[in-house]
């Protein structure tokens, strides 16, 4: 396999990490086999809350995948050389995130063995059809780009010229994957929480904050654990992107809050009330949502004040807060909040079960494994050159 030989030589620490991930994946697989056997009844999902942790993770990770565009666009369209060292990291992160997205969709299926029906009976009026097309396309694009540019780097030659249009295509494609993902939700007549035109822009804004925040953390981690140092400049520029995206995201959320509460339409208000103050005594998500809000507020202050943003130690914490805040917002509240109350006014609360969490954690572990192996390969190629 292509350059995979680089991934099987590593230190003791590297192998322990890999084995640990495999253990987590193994446990998740056992849980999944149980779900496959018994059905989705082993999750916390219900008649009223039919999508939960899986679909929410999928939604969040589409954002992480799309955010690769934040390094690809400046580098390739604006010839912004500072990102030269990290574009490959962004692309590999995107590949891993898209794979996780697909796995999260897969484990959410009631009849997973029939999943190819989506391709066998293509249905252009279904947003889910377009979502699978765009995600699959994005995976192919990024895999091609990463592979071609890395092998060129290894040979010490310039990448072939045909790859440039592919890279350019990947830029609007990244925007499309998250837009179509938002369309999954905001085209449903009975779900007032999602029935808002700002959903897609909001998705993109939060993605462009969470994704680069994760990339900063990964760069800092690489500097700590390996010989590879991206340098201070790319991290500075990335943190600036996180700042702007986070500001825009908060702005969008506030616009949403204004529209919902100033218009005062109960159907639209109920979901926000459920998430932030609880509805008729049901308030499982209230502490989560306020944690998300608090993290976002603190992170914004730390991002906006240059002294804190430029301090990489503080920045690491800030990025962690941004990531966690948006994960709660999108990977938890956004999906569940849309289902409570139900269109019939029923309030059913949702909490993921242990098997469900086990399966979700295993998919995250697969993502970590992919990132580890890909980064290992990329770094080994560069080490060979150095």
């Amino acid at each position: 396999m292509f350059m995979f030989e680089k991934a099987v030589v590593g230190s003791r620490r590297y192998w322990l990490w890999i084995l640990g991930l495999f253990a987590v994946i193994g446990i998740g697989l056992m849980f999944y086999l149980r779900q496959f056997e018994e059905g989705l009844a082993i999750t916390g999902l219900s008649r009223d809350v039919t999508w939960g942790l899986y679909i929410a993770q999928f939604t969040f990770l589409v954002g992480v995948a799309a955010s690769a565009v934040m390094v690809v666009l400046p580098y390739y369209l604006h010839d912004f050389k500072v990102f030269g060292k990290i574009t490959i990291l962004g692309e590999f992160l995107a590949i891993s995130a898209v794979t996780m997205c697909m796995l999260f969709i897969f484990v959410d299926m009631g009849q997973p063995t029939r999943v190819m029906n989506v391709m066998l009976h293509p249905t252009p009026n279904s947003m889910m059809f377009w979502d699978s097309v765009s995600l699959f396309g994005y995976l192919i694009l990024n895999a091609t780009i990463a592979l071609v540019s890395l092998s060129a780097e290894r040979k010490g030659v310039a990448p072939p010229s045909w790859i440039k249009p592919v890279i350019i295509l990947s830029i609007p494609w990244a925007v499309s994957i998250h837009t179509v993902t938002a369309f999954l939700y905001n085209g449903l007549p009975g779900r007032s929480f999602w029935l808002t035109a700002i959903l897609a822009p909001r998705f993109l804004a939060s993605a462009f904050a969470a994704g680069p925040a994760l990339l900063i953390l990964l760069c800092l981690l690489l500097r700590k654990l390996t010989w590879f140092d991206v340098g201070r400049e790319p991290i500075r520029k990335l943190s600036l992107i996180v700042t702007y995206a986070m500001l825009v995201n908060v702005f969008f959320v506030l616009m949403e809050v204004f529209t919902v509460f100033y218009s005062g339409i109960p159907e639209h208000q109920h979901h926000f009330q459920y998430l932030f103050v609880g509805l008729e005594g049901h308030n499982a998500l209230v502490p989560w949502m306020w944690t998300s809000m608090a993290l976002a507020a603190v992170a914004l202050v730390l991002l906006l004040i240059p002294k804190f943003r430029l301090n990489e130690k503080i920045l690491a914490f800030t990025c962690g807060m941004v990531f966690l805040s948006l994960w709660i917002d999108k990977g938890l509240g956004l999906i569940v909040g849309g289902f409570v109350p139900s269109p019939l006014g029923e309030i059913t609360e949702y909490a993921p079960t242990i098997p469900e969490i086990g399966i979700a954690v295993a998919i995250w572990a697969i993502g970590c494994l992919m990132v580890t192996v890909f980064y290992k390969i990329a770094l080994s190629v560069r080490e060979g050159l150095a």
Binding site: R47, T50, M109, G110, T123, S126, L188, P343, L344, E346
Partner: protein, 258 residues
């Protein structure tokens, strides 16, 4: 190399031809299934099936569950004990829930009203719009929103799309929750969505929907909405009827006399 390429083209060519032939066969199959209502001489047919529920008559027999019992028995609808995993095709909902109406000054009669709810067989069904596999579709011949339980992948997008909560997902094996099985109707497997189909299988045999037939009060009237002389149209013309959430543009084809 050129030999390889030749044989490759040959194989792919055969595969494509095979796929086309396969689709053709499948197409014929679907057609036969789709036109089944017309295929039998006794079949009840209409251009647009619809229903009128007279809640005043329904109320006369309080505690009556004959329509629900009949439907669930005929269609092998499982009795799932846990409320959050319930499967139901027809059930009673409070007026407030069914019509999504909140008021601080309740009307006594409406407050006590239990409304029969089931699939509205919308003329603009959001569930059909979102289904990624066409496992649910609106039948051209009579407007019934149908389900193919063998194609459904269990993504539950239709459940999210339905503003009436009319769709149930099988969270576990439904056969484990059946006391008796009607062998003339399929049971379902876990992981697929199901709902009322206006008894398409009974219409094909010239029978009325099971709920309509079971109602001792004649509170459920089933008929052709496209025919101005049909009983349903007459009721709609003469009585004040309401539909559930008409403002969503789904054009539900079940009308309520309150």
């Amino acid at each position: 190399m050129s030999m390889d390429r030749k044989s490759f083209l040959k194989i792919t060519g055969c595969a494509v031809a095979g796929a086309i032939a396969g689709n053709k066969l499948a197409g014929i199959d679907v057609e036969a299934q789709d036109g089944s209502a017309a295929a039998y001489p006794d079949a009840k047919t209409a251009k647009r099936w619809g229903m009128v529920i007279d809640t005043r008559k329904c109320l006369k027999a309080e505690g009556c569950d004959k329509c629900m019992a009949a439907c669930h028995e005929v269609h092998n609808v499982p009795e799932v004990p846990t409320k959050e995993h319930e499967v139901k095709w027809i059930w009673k909902e409070s007026y407030e829930h069914a019509f999504a109406k909140e008021t601080e000054y309740p009307n006594e009669e409406l407050e006590q009203l239990d409304v029969l709810v089931f699939c509205n067989h919308c003329d603009e069904p959001p569930c059909v719009r979102v289904c990624p596999t066409q496992a649910t579709w609106k039948r051209d011949s009579d407007g019934i929103v149908m389900m193919d339980w063998h194609r459904c992948i269990g993504c539950r997008y239709c459940v999210a799309a339905c503003p009436y909560g009319s769709r149930s997902f099988n969270w576990s094996d439904p056969r484990a929750h059946l006391d008796e099985t009607n062998l003339n109707y399929p049971t379902r497997t876990k992981g697929v969505v199901e709902k009322c189909t206006f008894c398409d299988e009974r219409l094909a045999k010239g029978l009325m929907p099971a709920c309509v037939e079971a109602c001792p009060e004649g509170a459920m009237v089933f008929g052709d909405l496209s025919d101005p002389n049909s009983e349903v149209r007459q009721l709609i013309r003469e009585q004040r009827t309401e539909r559930r959430k008409p403002e969503l543009g789904t054009k539900p084809e079940v009308f309520y006399i309150l």
